[in-house]
C-alpha cells in the first residue's frame, strides 16, 4: 500500500514538479473567493460576475512571465470586460446596434495575437452579461465598470502575494525535479530502471522528460520577473546551478544506446558500473540538498574517477564506447562543479 501511495505521489510530482499547476489553481480559487466575498458583503446589484472575473483575470496574468506584461494584460482584460459590458448594458434594447457593438469589440480584440488569450477570456465573461436583461441600463453599465476595477485589484493583489511567498519554493522544486529526472534518465541508460523509475521506450523519450524539466527551470530562472531583492539574489544563486544541470542533460545524450546492452561497456571498461552507481548516488544527494536547502556533504571520490579514466583512456576501445565514456566524464565534471557550489553555501 505504501509503495502504491509512493508511486502515485511520484507520478503527481512528475506531472507538476514545481507545484506551478497547484499554485496557479489555488490563486484562481482565492481570487474568485475574494470576489465572491466582496459581492456577498457589499451586495452591488447585478454584479454576480464578480465571482468569476478575478479568477479569469488571474489566469491571464499568469500566462506572462514579466510583471510589465502581467499587469498590462490583466488591465487589458479587465478593461475589455468593462467596455464590452458597458456597451451591452447601454445598447441592450437596440436589436441591431448591439450586434454591431459585439462585432466591433470581438474583431478589435481578436486582431491582436499577443493578447488573444486575454481577449477570449474577457469576451467569454462579458457575454454572460447578455443574459442579465432585467438589469441593463447606463447605471448597470457603470456599476459593472466599477466591479471590473475591483476584480483587477483583487487579482493583482493575489498574484503579487503568491509570487512573493511561493517563487523561491517553486525554483527549488523545479531544480530538484530536474535533478531527479536526470538521475532517472542516467539510471535508465545504465540499465537499472529501479522500482519507481519510468521505463523509457526509446532514447527520445528520455530526452523529452528532461527537456520539459529544463524548460521549466529555464523559464523560472531566466524569464520570470521577481519583485523583491531577496528573490533576485536567490535566482542568481539558482542560475549557477542551472547552467550545470543543463550541461548534464546535454551530456546524457552521449549515453545513447547504452541501455540496450550495458554489460558490453562494463566488460570493456572496468569500473564503469561502479562509476554509474556513484553518479546516481551523488545526484540523489544533490537533489536532497536543493530541495531541503542544505549544504552538500558528499564524499570526495576523485581517486575512483581518476583510476577509471586512466584505465579506459589507455585501452583500445571502439569509438562508440569512447563516446559514452566521454559523456560520463562530462557528467562527473558537472556534478563536481555542482557539489563545490553547494558545499560552500546552501540554496536558501
Amino acid at each position: 500500500m505504501l509503495d502504491y501511495i509512493k508511486e502515485k505521489w511520484r507520478t503527481l510530482r512528475r506531472l507538476d514538479p514545481d507545484c506551478d499547476i497547484f499554485f496557479n489553481s489555488l490563486e484562481n480559487v482565492v481570487a474568485c473567493a475574494l470576489g465572491a466575498f466582496f459581492w456577498l458583503f457589499f451586495r452591488p446589484p447585478g454584479s454576480s460576475l464578480l465571482v468569476l472575473s478575478p479568477g479569469f483575470i488571474v489566469m491571464v496574468g499568469h500566462s506572462f512571465p514579466k510583471w510589465n506584461d502581467k499587469v498590462r494584460s490583466m488591465a487589458y482584460a479587465a478593461l475589455l470586460v468593462a467596455v464590452c459590458q458597458f456597451g451591452v448594458s447601454v445598447l441592450f434594447n437596440c436589436k441591431i446596434l448591439i450586434l454591431v457593438w459585439l462585432f466591433s469589440v470581438t474583431f478589435f480584440s481578436f486582431s491582436f495575437k499577443r493578447f488573444r488569450f486575454a481577449s477570449a477570456m474577457a469576451l467569454g465573461i462579458s457575454m454572460l452579461s447578455l443574459s442579465m436583461g432585467q438589469v441593463n441600463d447606463w447605471h448597470a453599465g457603470m456599476n459593472r465598470n466599477i466591479d471590473e476595477f475591483f476584480a483587477f485589484l483583487i487579482s493583482l493583489s493575489v498574484l503579487i502575494i503568491f509570487s512573493i511567498f511561493t517563487s523561491r519554493m517553486q525554483i527549488r522544486l523545479a531544480l530538484s525535479g530536474f535533478l531527479s529526472e536526470l538521475k532517472d534518465c542516467i539510471d535508465a541508460h545504465a540499465g537499472r530502471p529501479g522500482k519507481f523509475v519510468k521505463i523509457y521506450e526509446n532514447d527520445e523519450d528520455m530526452l523529452l522528460d528532461s527537456r520539459e524539466r529544463a524548460l521549466r527551470a529555464h523559464f523560472l530562472i531566466h524569464e520570470e520577473d521577481y519583485l523583491t531583492l531577496k528573490e533576485a539574489n536567490f535566482v542568481a544563486e539558482a542560475a549557477k546551478l542551472q547552467v550545470h544541470l543543463n550541461s548534464i542533460s546535454r551530456a546524457s545524450s552521449f549515453l545513447k544506446g547504452l541501455e540496450k546492452n550495458p554489460g558490453l561497456l562494463y566488460n570493456a571498461a572496468s569500473g564503469t558500473d561502479e562509476v554509474l552507481v556513484d553518479i546516481s548516488a551523488r545526484l540523489s544527494e544533490l537533489e536532497n540538498c536543493v530541495r531541503f536547502s542544505r549544504v552538500c556533504k558528499s564524499e570526495n571520490k576523485s581517486r575512483l574517477y581518476e583510476r577509471w579514466r586512466k584505465q579506459w583512456e589507455s585501452e583500445k576501445l571502439p569509438l562508440k564506447f569512447k563516446r559514452m565514456l566521454y559523456g560520463l566524464q562530462c557528467i562527473d565534471r558537472d556534478i563536481s562543479a555542482l557539489e563545490s557550489i553547494l558545499k560552500k553555501k546552501a540554496l536558501k
Binding site: L102, L130, K322
Partner: protein, 348 residues
C-alpha cells in the same frame, strides 16, 4: 508559397481570423436574441472559450469536440449531485470552491479540456441552484437541457464558419511553416556560433543555452499543432507520415546540437590545429547556410551531408579518432544528414 511569404501574410491572417470569430459571435448573439433561447448567452461564451488557445482550425475543432463531451459529462454530474446530495442537505454547496479548484488543477495536469468544461459546468449548475431565489421556479432539468442545446448550437456555428469563411487562413500547415522558419533560423545560428566558440576555446556564453530552450519550446508547439491536424476539416491522412518524419528529424538535429554544445562547454583549452579549425568552421557554415536558405538542393548538387563528409574525409582527428574533436565532427555530420532529409520534405 515560401516560408518568408507565410510570415509576411501573418497580419492578414490575424485579421481574417478575427473577422471570422466576430462573425460567429454576432451569429450566436443573433440566434440567442431572435429566438429568445434560455441560457443562450452560453452560445457566445462557448465560442469565445473555444478560441482561447488559438484559432488554428485543428485546435478549434478538437476543442469544440471536447467542449461538447465536457458539457454533457458536467451536466450529468451536476444533475446527480444536486438531486442526490444537495436535495437532502444544502451544506453540500460548500464544495463549490473545491470544484472550481479541481476544474483548473485537473485540466492543467492532464491537458484535457473536457475535464475543465465538465467541472465548470458542474460549478455553474450548482451555483445557479444555490443562488436561485426561493420565489423563482428553478428547474435543474431545464437548465441542463438549455445549456446542452446552446453548446450544440455553438458547435454548429463553429463548424459552419470554419468550413465557409477564410477556410485556408487557419490551416495548421501555415502555423507549422511559421514555426519551422523560426526553428531553422535558431538552428543555423546555433550550429555556426557553437562551432566558433568551440574552435576558438571561448568562454561559453549564457545566451547559447537559451537557443536550445527556444528550439525545444517551438518544437513542442509544433508537435501540438501536428497532433491537432487530424481534427481539420478534410484532413489528408496520407501526409501524416511526412509530418511525423519531419518532427523526428527536427528532434535529431536538435540532439546533435545538444551534443556539440556539451563538447564546447567541456573544452579544457585543448589546442585544435588551424587546419582542423578551418574544416570544422567550413562544415558548420555549410549546414547553417542550408538551414538559412531553406531550399532543397538541386539534384545535380551534392547533398549537405556529402559536402560535410568530404570536408572531414582527410582530417587528422578523424583518422586518429582523436576525441572530442571527432565527436564534434560526428555531430556535425549527423546534423547535416538530417538537414538534407528535412530540406527534402520541405521541397515536397
Amino acid at each position: 508559397m515560401t516560408l518568408q511569404n507565410t510570415i509576411s501574410n501573418n497580419q492578414k491572417r490575424s485579421f481574417q481570423e478575427a473577422f471570422k470569430i466576430a462573425l460567429m459571435v454576432v451569429t450566436g448573439s443573433f440566434i440567442y436574441r431572435f429566438y429568445h433561447l434560455p441560457n443562450g448567452n452560453w452560445i457566445v461564451a462557448a465560442i469565445c472559450y473555444i478560441y482561447i488557445s488559438g484559432s488554428t482550425q485543428g485546435f478549434v475543432m478538437k476543442r469544440a469536440n471536447e467542449r461538447f463531451m465536457g458539457t454533457l459529462v458536467g451536466l450529468i454530474m451536476a444533475f446527480l449531485f444536486v438531486n442526490i446530495f444537495m436535495h437532502a442537505n444544502y451544506h453540500w454547496a460548500y464544495i463549490l470552491p473545491f470544484v472550481w479548484f479541481l476544474a483548473f488543477y485537473l485540466y492543467l495536469l492532464s491537458g484535457h479540456y473536457t475535464i475543465r468544461v465538465a467541472m465548470t459546468c458542474m460549478f455553474v449548475i450548482i451555483f445557479s441552484s444555490v443562488m436561485a431565489p426561493a420565489y423563482k421556479d428553478f428547474s435543474v432539468w431545464s437548465a441542463l437541457f438549455s445549456r446542452m442545446f446552446a453548446t450544440v448550437i455553438a458547435g454548429s456555428i463553429i463548424v459552419f464558419f470554419e468550413f465557409i469563411v477564410f477556410r485556408k487562413a487557419t490551416l495548421v500547415r501555415d502555423d507549422i511553416r511559421e514555426l519551422s522558419a523560426k526553428i531553422f533560423e535558431e538552428m543555423a545560428f546555433g550550429v555556426s556560433s557553437v562551432t566558433r566558440c568551440y574552435v576558438n576555446g571561448e568562454e561559453f556564453r549564457n545566451e547559447y543555452w537559451t537557443i536550445l530552450a527556444d528550439i525545444a519550446r517551438i518544437y513542442g508547439k509544433g508537435q501540438k499543432l501536428h497532433a491537432s491536424m487530424e481534427f481539420e476539416i478534410g484532413h489528408d491522412i496520407t501526409r501524416d507520415k511526412g509530418y511525423e518524419e519531419y518532427f523526428k528529424y527536427l528532434e535529431t538535429v536538435s540532439r546533435s546540437l545538444r551534443g556539440m554544445i556539451c563538447i564546447a562547454n567541456h573544452n579544457d583549452g585543448q589546442k585544435i590545429s588551424e587546419a582542423d579549425k578551418k574544416k570544422l568552421i567550413e562544415a558548420s557554415e555549410i549546414i547553417a547556410g542550408a538551414f538559412e536558405k531553406l531550399e532543397p538542393y538541386a539534384s545535380k548538387e551534392l547533398s549537405v551531408a556529402q559536402k560535410t563528409k568530404d570536408i572531414f574525409e582527410n582530417a587528422d582527428f578523424m583518422r586518429e579518432e582523436r576525441y572530442p574533436e571527432c565527436f564534434f565532427a560526428e555531430n556535425l555530420i549527423e546534423a547535416a544528414g538530417y538537414a538534407d532529409k528535412l530540406l527534402n520534405i520541405i521541397g515536397k
